[in-house]
Each structure stands twice: as C-alpha cells, then as structure tokens.
C-alpha cells in the first residue's frame, strides 16, 4: 500500500529538511515539534537567506538539528557532526573561519569543531553569544 504524502510530517515540503542551529551551550529544549509544525526555541538562524540551514537527507520521522556547544573548559564542537550528516559540506565551509563570541573571548571556528573528539580546543567559555553569518534568537 502506498504512503500518502502529507499524511505525516515526513516527506512533505522542503521545510522538513530546513532547521535552525541549536545553541547547546544554553540549557533547555531546542524546539517543540508537532505534526507539520516546529517551533525553534533558542539558537541561531542564518543572517542571509531565509534563515534556515538545509540539512542533508534524514530518515523519515527522524529529526536532526545541528548545534554548536561550548563548555567551560573551552571545548567547542557540533554534536555528532561527524556521524549525523546534519551539516552539508557547503554550510560547514561557510562557517569555518567565522568568529564565535562567548563568555570568555572570541575565536574562529575551525574544521575540528565538526570532525569528532577531541573537537576544537579554544580559550573560550560557555555560553556562546554570537556566531558569524548566524543570528542568535
């Protein structure tokens, strides 16, 4: 039996493959999810364009939202960026080199932030305030 498009939140408009970026250095749930409706509660959107990050293909009903995190020891990373495929290569290329302002200092994003443990080691400290090319909300 076929699957009727639009009957669930999977495979509907291109919106299901667009998302904000969670600011994981700030506590709380990143979003409220409902059928065909998602409300992002905190994080970043793109300063240019429509505000959304285009994620790569995800399985039906699997929500994948990219994030950035920074701990008190200065480790900066995007959770599971090396395994979840939530970032496109184009987006990573846009963000590498962008400044991150935080409670401690300002540093530029390197590819280490996307490439797995031990991630990017910085002199910063949580929380993240701003990221270049992204707007906090």
């Amino acid at each position: 039996m076929g699957t009727l498009i639009g009957d669930s939140s999977s495979y509907s408009t291109w919106a299901v493959l667009r998302t904000a970026v969670d600011n994981a250095s700030v506590g709380g749930s990143p979003a409220n999810q409902y059928a065909h409706n998602i409300e992002f509660l905190k994080g970043f959107y793109t300063t240019e364009g429509n505000g959304f990050i285009r994620t790569t293909y995800t399985l039906p009903l699997t929500f994948a939202m990219p994030d950035f995190n920074l701990d008190s020891g200065g480790t900066f990373w995007s959770s599971n960026a090396d395994t979840n495929f939530v970032w496109t290569d184009e987006d990573k290329a846009q963000l590498i080199g962008e400044d991150v302002t935080n409670a401690g200092t300002t540093f530029a994003i390197t590819s280490d932030a996307f490439d797995g443990y031990p991630w990017q080691i910085t002199s910063g400290s949580d929380p993240i305030y701003t990221i270049g090319k992204l707007t906090a909300f």
């Binding site: 639009g6 509907s12 408009t13 409902y34 059928a35 065909h36 409706n37 998602i38 409300e39 905190k42």
Partner: protein
Amino acid sequence: MKIQPGVGYTFDSSSKGFTFDTSEQFPSRDGLGVTHPFQVINVTYDVAGSAWLFQVAPGTVNNIVPQIDEDSVWVLLDRTAGGLPDWPVSVLTPFDASTHECFIYLRAGKDTTSGAFPSADDTSSNYPRIICSDTALSDTDTYGYVLLAKATEGTGPVCSVVQYVTGSLWGDRIKLGTITASYYYARI
C-alpha cells in the same frame, strides 16, 4: 485519401491541396469543463443580493478538506447531498473600493491543542478555511495564508478571476523564536 474532422485540428481542402491546423491540439481545461482542486468556479452575479457568488472546487491541505462560508455557516468544500456533489456557494466580498480586487485565500493555523498544522478541529477558526479579503494578507503566528485566486470586479457587472493555486497542497509551519512563523507549501 479521405480525411475526417477530429478533435484538436481543423482541416481545409481545395483544388490546390489540403492543410491541417493543429494550433488547438490540446483543448484547454476550461473548454473541457474540468476543474482542479481549489479552482474558483461559477462566479455569478446575484441581482437580488447585489453580490457576486462563487464556489471553490474541493481540494486538500495536508489531506484535510477546508471549509468555506455559506450563509454564515462553515461548510466543507466537498459537501454532498444524496450522494451527489453539493458544493457550497459563498459570497465574494469584500472588494477593494479603489482597485476593485478581492483576494481569495486559504487560511490555516496550528491546532491549539495538539500543535499540529493545520488544525483538524473543524469547529476552530484555525481549521483550514477559504476566506476573502480586499487587501493582501500577511502570515501571522496564528494563521498562514495562501492566495488561491484574485477576483476583479468591473461594471456591467463583470468579474474576472486569476487563479494562482491549481492543486491540493501540503505544508509546514516553522517558527524561529519570537519571529513570526513561516509557512511553506507544495502543490500535490
């Protein structure tokens, strides 16, 4: 050789030969009397009520059939009576006093209980509904609007309709923080 008349072409013959004209090879949808989802149809002037009446062919948004106002009652577009189509008739109003335009929108909002978009509660104003407006409408956190068609009234009376949406839709609502929600639709 004998050539018979047929649908989609005209044929002329003379002592010098014959010609085919196939410029009308594919008859228009209107010419065939076929409607598509959300097509504004049967726009007629009601002399007694001094108002334009219209119907909207049934369609769906996220597989939900919208409602339209008929005599101040919200009625499903695909209403039937005795097993036959009995699509509701609504009043095309208001028209802008200057431009004489009336915008016909599909309005939908999220369900206040489940959070789903659109609301499946057919008693709620957030349930998908066809509405008319004399101005262009912008999305809000409560409602997303899709312009189905625009009607322009002239003297006579005459009324022309430009159709923008030609099929059923599915859509998503996205809200970023305190920024007004965005609504994205695709035609199916």
